[in-house]
């Protein structure tokens, strides 16, 4: 009898080894492990055996059944994994075919820089104060310590409207007066604002100069605002805007609405201060004009300059954007060529 078990095992395993698909597996299982299969047949012969052999034979058939089931599962897993591998292989696509063109959209580079500015200044307690583009001569010049015929008026080529009292602001500085008057509560409250906005100058439009450009003006007024605060604040801005170890340099300068006045240079971030074409081989890039608010301007804003002081600064976002991205032509900004805009 044991021969019949061995023969069956041999035949079954041999048959299983040649099976490669599900149908074969089902047929094999029916043939050997099914209710009417060969193993069941062996169980059926137990009754015809002598009593003494029954137990042993039964055990051996059980073992055979277990062995064949295991072999079946192994074979089944193998066939399934082979099939999966085949399917994966057949399902391969050309990953180099072009993507579906999704519309990306984009924010104008000038806006991007303004956002960066606004965020940095907001973190430092400076909030946005919006002021008007079409200004009175008085606010753009006279109240900023630039009376009519002042030599410094030559520094700015102004667009006048047909009403000689009204012009397009040449800088965001008239917003200083408006902010002081709006927020200063008659010269009794401190102020910390930035004034972003479009400015206008009657110039030849070239790769380097435009008739309209944006500026960000900053203004802090308080009872104890010091020039060292201005330096510290600008240095902090430079660290956040350019790099944590940006070096800053200050040059004495002149703006009618600040005194003392200074220009702020940051170490050229393109050459690390070693000198390059962009920084004109000086290692420095001019980033801001700044100074302590002139006493006359404080007065015109409603403050007593013997009690109050302040600082102000002005920056040009387009210039900074140009430096950062190596943009050679300022006319790109208002040209709105999608081939330019899509690069941001």
């Amino acid at each position: 009898m044991s021969q019949s078990i061995d023969a069956l095992r041999e035949a079954a395993l041999a048959a299983l080894g040649s099976i490669h698909d599900n149908d074969g597996l089902s047929a094999w299982r029916a043939q050997y492990l099914g209710r009417r299969g060969a193993v069941s047949g062996l169980f059926g012969t137990i009754g015809s055996l002598p009593k003494a052999e029954r137990a042993i034979f039964g055990k051996r058939v059980n073992a055979l059944q277990g062995e064949l089931r295991q072999a079946f599962e192994g074979r089944e897993a193998l066939i399934q994994s082979q099939r999966l591998a085949r399917e994966l292989e057949e399902g391969e696509i050309d990953i180099s075919l072009p993507a579906q063109p999704r519309r990306r959209g984009g924010i104008h580079p000038s806006t991007r820089t303004h956002r960066e500015f606004q965020q940095i200044w907001a973190e430092m307690g400076f909030q946005v104060f919006q002021s008007r583009d079409v200004e009175e001569d008085e606010f753009n010049f006279t109240l900023l310590n630039l009376p009519p015929h002042h030599p410094a008026r030559d520094m700015q080529d102004t667009f006048y409207t047909t009403d000689p009292r009204v012009l397009l602001r040449t800088h965001t500085s008239p917003g200083q007066i408006r902010a002081m008057r709006a927020l200063g509560a008659g010269g009794s409250k401190p102020i910390r604002v930035i004034l972003p906005g479009m400015c206008y100058r009657q110039e030849q439009v070239t790769a380097r100069s435009e008739i309209q450009f944006t500026q960000v003006e900053g203004l802090a007024v308080g009872r104890n605002i010091r020039m060292s605060d201005l330096k510290g604040t600008i240095a902090e801005f430079a660290k956040r805007m350019y790099s944590p170890d940006a070096r800053v340099r200050y040059r004495a300068s002149y703006f009618p609405f600040t005194e003392p006045s200074m220009e702020v240079d940051v170490e050229c971030f393109l050459c690390g201060g070693a000198g390059c074409r962009v920084c004109k081989y000086t290692g420095w890039l001019e980033i801001a004009g700044s100074g302590m608010v002139h006493p006359e301007v404080l007065r015109n804003g409603g403050y007593d300059p013997s009690e109050w002081s302040g600082f102000a600064f002005g920056m040009g976002p387009e210039r900074i954007t140009m430096l950062k991205h190596g943009i050679q032509d300022i006319r790109y900004f208002w040209g709105n060529d999608l081939r330019f805009l899509q690069q941001f």
Binding site: E136, F159, V166, K231, N336
Partner: protein, 848 residues
């Protein structure tokens, strides 16, 4: 202004390299834009980054000061001569040259007084004088028409001094000259090109710059001599002054030099004037220019005899405003009509010159002039600026007077000028200076407590140090306790008499000279103002993000346009805005940019047309101001949102069989509704469009909370045709931003997620073809009640089997109850109600 370091050194000792000096000047507010080297090497200063100069450096052993002993004819060539040059070596160097300015010495024997030249020896590198482009050449020995020649007498071009190559450099004798000196020690120079801000009017001269240098370096200032040898008759007997407008002409001085000779100025004077870009003329005119640049006090020289002729006796110089219709022909040959505010220098016969600006032709110095009347005056700078604006003339004199020259300087210029003229041209100076100075301004004295300096700068400054800085700047400083009483020097006009402003003026001087780098960096200790959120800015930025996320690109345009351009945006017959509703530019950059825009449409159309050349499908937006004038002094400047869509809904792609259809009204409506949804604005509706630039049948007005805030839709076909935007619908919407900001819900409630399953039902209704879909949906929603959660129109159909004049609208309906699970039966009941309402109110039929 160009400042030769050799000239500057006459007034101040400079021990630091010129590169470092330039840096110190720049940091102190005198911006040195450029250094121009003449012959001298560029120094490297540790820590200082500079553009590298590519100039010619004169080799000290090969480029020498030579003395031309004799000039001989060349034996074989008429157009060449041989200069015999002593240069400190054993023999005379024989240079063959064609320099025309040596021919007058040919075969004249030994030249006396000594004539000096720039001698290049064999092996020296110079610029090639014959090359148009800068090209270096090294001197080699060679035969020139039979005479061996190995050295050269140089022109200015060959040495890199100027472009002059007409003749060689010939220098007058100078006691300091020794044959064989390195040329670098004689003509070597560095020119500082300094740019002056308007507050530095006092620095527009060599002495002015030298004062700053002395203050910055802490060295002594050496002023030029102002005394003069006056041996003639008293000036007051020979001329008179009559100032009629002392406010415009606060001071007028005159000196007289008789029996002088007008001739060419000596080499040193011509050389200095040429270095700073001035053309030498004659010794008299050159001195007036020289003093202008040396002291910053412009001078004017008259031919005294011509004045006497005009006066028919002793002249009286009158300064006055013009008479109506008065004219003057100035030195530049221009016959000028004189405006009412132009201050004139005149005599009894009429106008002589525009005071402080330019002289008249008639009384100018000529080769025959023997007697020179020298004017040195002071002028009101505002008055000069008005003259400049009116006369459109700019001179070195007007550049200084228009920025302000202190009247105290007039007398110095007069004295220094007349003495220099005497030295160069000979003659006798009249005794005394005729000086009319009706009201000398008091020098402002500022009381400055040291505490104020410390407080404003945030820096510990010792009282003594602050006072020392001011004294270096020539303030007179008295100290009373902790207060400095500083009196401004007489050359400064920029120190205010106002107590607080004057303090700021002085604090700036102290900080500038100590150096801004010495001020510490601090964090503001001052009270922080209350922090407010700026809703306008946040909303704008939010809208930008929403639109960019939908694939739109932000544009920012010129705010300029023209009425004609804006007229192009309207169909024929539509009324234009009133003329005065535009902000009009008086001095526009171009005629098509002579007003400010009243709509964003014009710019955006232009953008689309420009980009259309290479990109058919475009989605753009702009958020920016428009300017609505009329009535008030200043216009309103509301912020607008413009959206422009045109072209295919999607770009072509290899998986799509056919190109995507063009975007239409509903695409724009979708973009808009996303904006409204993102701002949580729910109270809005549409009405038929009223914007004349848009297609009346294919546009809508947007009303938010009942307020009409903008229009959108297809551009009017007549307008679109003008811009050749006919290939696909051009879709545009423009909206006021402020109402969006006001109506947005910043804090909206979030609904709980449904826990019960939804029941989905479809329904198709047949209605009149002209029935607005919005009306159908409204009826469905109303009838559906609170359990009808969503209504989605998924098909609009006309044609068989739908009867003519009708259309079928198919909706997917979602029913859901948050409290219980709806059954199909519940849903069917509501559906029935909806069908009933549609039948009753819309005369609709259910499509089966």
């Amino acid at each position: 202004m160009l400042v030769p370091i050799t000239w500057l050194r006459e007034y101040v000792d400079i021990e630091v390299p010129v590169e470092l000096l330039a840096e110190r000047l720049t940091l102190a507010g005198l911006e040195v834009a450029h250094l121009r080297y003449i012959g001298l090497p560029q120094a490297t200063v540790p820590g200082l980054v500079m553009p590298r100069s590519d100039h010619l450096v004169w080799e000290r052993d090969k480029l020498l000061l030579g003395r031309i002993v004799e000039v001989k004819a060349h034996p074989n060539a008429d157009r060449l001569v041989m200069a015999l040059v002593e240069y400190g070596g054993g023999e005379l160097e024989q240079c063959v040259t064609g320099a025309p300015n040596l021919f007058e010495y040919k075969d004249q024997g030994e030249i006396s007084p000594p004539l000096w030249c720039a001698l290049a020896l064999e092996g020296a590198t110079v610029w090639d004088g014959h090359s148009d482009k800068p090209r270096r050449a090294t001197l080699k020995g060679r035969e020139l028409r039979g005479i061996y020649n190995k050295s050269m007498v140089c022109s200015e071009k060959e040495l890199g001094i100027s472009d002059e190559h007409e003749g060689v450099i010939l220098m007058d004798h100078d006691e300091r000259f020794v044959a064989g000196m390195a040329l670098a020690d004689v003509l070597g120079d560095v020119l500082l090109d300094i740019e002056f801000t308007p507050n530095l009017a006092r620095c527009l001269s060599m002495v002015g710059v030298a004062r700053e240098v002395a203050a910055i370096l802490g060295t002594e200032m050496r002023y030029p001599a102002y005394d003069f040898l006056a041996e003639g008759a008293p000036i007051a007997e020979q001329v008179a002054i009559d100032i009629r407008e002392p406010a415009l002409n606060p001071r007028f001085t005159l000196t007289l030099l008789r029996d002088t000779k007008v001739r060419q100025s000596p080499f040193w004077l011509r050389h200095r004037l040429k270095l700073i870009g001035q053309r030498p003329r004659n010794n008299i005119v050159d001195v007036t220019n020289y003093i202008t640049f040396e002291l910053g006090q412009p001078l004017h020289a008259f031919d005294y005899d011509k004045l006497c002729q005009r006066a028919g006796g002793l002249p009286t110089i009158i300064t006055r405003l013009p008479q109506p219709g008065e004219q003057l022909e100035t030195l530049d040959g221009e016959a000028r009509a004189l405006g009412a505010e132009t201050i004139l220098v005149a005599d009894t016969a009429g106008a002589l010159s525009l005071g402080g600006v330019i002289g008249g032709g008639e009384t100018e110095i000529s080769a025959e002039t023997q007697n020179v009347l020298l004017e040195s005056a002071a002028w009101n700078n505002i008055s000069i600026r008005k003259t400049l604006r009116e006369q459109k003339v700019h001179t070195e004199a007007s550049a200084r007077f228009s920025r302000g020259v202190h009247p105290s300087q007039a007398i110095l210029g007069c004295q220094r000028g007349i003495e220099l003229m005497r030295q160069l041209g000979g003659g006798t100076i009249a005794s005394g200076v005729l000086d009319n100075y009706p009201a000398p301004p008091p020098a402002p004295t500022v009381a400055l407590p040291i505490a104020r300096v410390r407080q404003l700068l945030g820096m510990e400054v010792a009282l003594a140090d602050a006072a020392a800085v001011l004294r270096r700047l020539e303030f007179e400083v008295a100290i009373e306790g902790d207060v400095m009483l500083a009196t401004a020097p007489d050359f400064r006009l920029d120190i205010s008499a106002d107590a607080v402003v004057g303090q700021a003026d002085l604090i700036e001087e102290i900080a500038r000279i100590i150096g801004y780098d010495q001020i510490p960096d601090t964090i503001m200790a001052d009270e922080m103002p209350p922090q407010r959120e700026n809703t306008a800015v946040l909303t704008e930025e939010r809208i930008r993000d929403i639109l960019a996320a939908q694939g739109l690109y932000e544009v920012i345009n010129y705010r300029f346009t023209s009425r004609e351009s804006e007229a192009q945006l309207l169909p024929a017959g539509a009324p234009m805005p009133a003329a005065d509703s535009y902000v009009e530019i008086a001095n526009p950059a171009a005629s098509e940019r002579n007003v400010l825009r009243r709509t964003l449409l014009g710019n955006m159309l232009e953008n689309v047309v420009n980009n259309g050349r290479y990109q058919a499908s475009q989605q753009l937006f702009e958020i920016g101001k428009v300017y609505l004038g009329g009535g008030a002094l200043l216009p309103q400047e509301p912020q607008r949102l413009g959206i422009f869509l045109t072209g295919a809904r999607a770009q072509p792609w290899w998986q799509e069989e056919s190109p995507a259809p063009p975007m239409d009204f509903y695409d724009l409506k979708g973009v808009l509704e996303n904006v409204l949804a993102a701002l949580h604005i729910e109270d809005f509706r549409y009405e038929r469009g009223t914007q004349p630039s848009l297609h009346p049948g294919r546009s809508a007005d947007l009303l938010v909370a009942g307020e009409r805030i903008g229009s959108f839709g297809e551009i009017h076909p007549q307008v679109a045709a003008r811009f050749k935007l006919t290939a696909a619908p051009a879709l545009y919407g423009e909206f006021a931003v402020a109402p969006l900001m006001r109506q947005q819900r910043r804090l909206h409630k979030v609904a709980a997620l449904p826990t019960r399953p939804a029941v989905l039902e479809d329904i198709a209704l047949i209605v009149r073809a002209d029935m607005p879909a919005g009306a159908v949906e409204a009826v469905i929603r109303q009838a559906g009640g609170r359990l009808l959660k969503e209504v989605t129109l998924f098909d609009v159909y006309m044609g068989e089997p739908i009867p003519p004049g009708k259309k079928s609208l198919a909706y997917a309906l979602t029913f859901q109850d948050d409290a219980r699970t709806l059954t199909d039966k519940n849903a069917a009941k509501i559906r029935k109600k909806i069908i009933g309402a549609a039948r009753h109110r819309l005369n609709a039929e259910l499509r089966s």
